[in-house]
Symmetry: C2
Subunit: 312 residues, 2 copies
């Protein structure tokens, strides 16, 4: 049942960074720097219509191709909400940047919808609905952006379906440095180049780094995080999609970054620093390294956002 | 340099269970129930000699084939200890039981040796030396028995060489149930049947369960442990080596076990229960299930040993 006194809700959903090197498809974190806004306005004709998208790049207005409207449609279907909604989307996250743009729009839509409900659904349920949006965007129900976007902090997705289970991991007080080079890498093609198998040897080594990373978060042990947040499987395969990748990573580490890795499927990189000053140095070093390859890059410095998406 | 006043040292090293379902080759735990003892007596002829092995099964007396003497030899070489030692080994752990028998003898030897040193070496170093023993026993430097044997508790091996890094994980107050069916499974052949590759899909799913298991230990969350300690990769391949495996596992779960999985490379199984009464029920159910396959089985119930190997 919908609350009768609410006509319009706007929700903000933050940018996110998926994978975090060691947690391919299962880990992600929420950022504070940028995000998408979605405004839902109740209709009474049963239609779900995208009124307007404020975005520097073109996005589909057809409700079945847009992640926000598609997630909203699925949520309404599941809950038997038939009134209809008009949608306005304000994109703060550049599409294809590896910062969870498609997830943020879907997450903002379902979080806004939840505010209309007399009995709101759980965050896990919201992840489930938002995943329909991810599915049309990337071809798979990968919750590593949607989960941190809705839960905030660093999240682990133990199960992405039947039912969704998200674990909020503790996180150290770190500054994230996001560098978005002006290169286009589509999630679908970034998936396409991955080998369908992993050698047993690499699987074991990577598992040790993943487990040690989880331990480092619970222990708040930055040095252990530094040693263990290493991607032995995905980075070697995807780095080729980002011109200058290893130079930029090296520049980050030389400037004092705890680690630097692909943000989601790229082309953005995420690096971690222990404080703002260090983050500035890391940011400059990474942007400079891209510029020596004649690639322009945008950058953000952001703490980890502990809250996730919320209604304004 | 050796302490001048010590002539003989006996060390006890506990049985261990490696892998724990989710942590193939990287996790293990120490048990309280049984273990091996190694007594070293200083000589002055530079020889390393196995005086006696008390064991129900035959074990090699040649110093280069026995895990205790080989680990000791490597430790002496590394530290320039030239006096020589006589070794007595009292096996408490049945060979081929999947309870870390070869690791325990090697661990007891190096822990005893450490007591002779004026400046004892670190536990990580002891793991490094004991691994030489594991190498001759199983063909590889797998620290998932040696590390918990020396450190105690539940251990994660982030790195098994250059340098060894072991992380002591917190552990809930659980009872372990070990069932050793009278079947022979050699570690080398148990490795041989494993496929050299893991599908990306299984790798991702298993990673999520591993990460969630680590989180469950830090959170002391038994229900999360129950959901997440699932082996999707190794168990399906190795279960065939243990007649009746899935019947026994099912019996354990039906009797209330948190989980049941192969102990090391088998044929033993390890199950977990929240208290002693439950552990007894689980034990009986598992032994009965083996008996319906006409297989006799020994059993132990043990808390997790928090201390690891020590000198008597």
């Amino acid at each position: 049942m919908l609350k009768t006194n609410i006509k319009t809700v706007t929700a903000f959903a933050p940018a996110t960074s998926a994978n975090l090197g060691v947690g391919f498809d299962i880990m992600g974190l929420a950022l504070d720097a940028v995000g998408d806004k979605v405004t839902l306005t109740r209709r009474d004709d049963g239609q779900i219509v995208i009124d307007k998208i404020n975005s520097p790049t073109g996005l589909p207005l057809e409700p079945n191709k847009n992640t926000a409207s598609f997630a909203l449609t699925k949520m309404c279907e599941s809950l038997n909400i038939t009134c209809g909604f008009s949608i306005q989307i304000d994109k703060g996250i550049a599409m294809g940047s590896g910062m969870g743009g498609s997830a943020a729009s879907a997450a903002a839509a379902v979080v806004a919808m939840n505010a209309f409900l007399e009995t709101p659904v759980s965050k896990e349920k919201l992840v489930e609905y938002a995943l329909y949006g991810e599915e049309i965007a990337s071809g798979g129900k990968h919750a590593d952006n949607v989960a941190p976007c809705i839960f905030g902090g660093i999240t682990l997705i133990r199960s992405s379906q039947d039912p969704v289970e998200v674990i909020n991991l503790p996180h150290p007080d770190l500054e994230c440095v996001i560098i978005h080079p002006h290169l286009q890498v589509e999630t679908k093609s970034a998936r396409g180049i991955l080998k369908p198998e992993v050698s047993m040897k690499l699987y074991i080594e990577q598992s040790a780094q993943l487990a040690a990373t989880i331990a480092s978060l619970y222990r708040n042990d930055i040095e252990l995080l530094r040693r263990s947040m290493q991607d032995l499987i995905i980075e070697p395969q995807r780095a080729q999609l980002v011109t200058g990748y290893f130079d930029v990573k090296k520049a980050a580490l030389n400037a004092g970054a705890i680690t630097a890795t692909l943000s989601g499927s790229g082309p953005s990189l995420i690096a971690f620093a222990t404080n703002k000053d260090e983050a500035l140095k890391v940011r400059d070093a990474m942007v400079n390294a891209f510029s020596t390859h004649n690639i322009e890059a945008d950058s953000w410095i952001s703490p980890i956002n502990p809250n996730g998406a919320y209604c304004l």
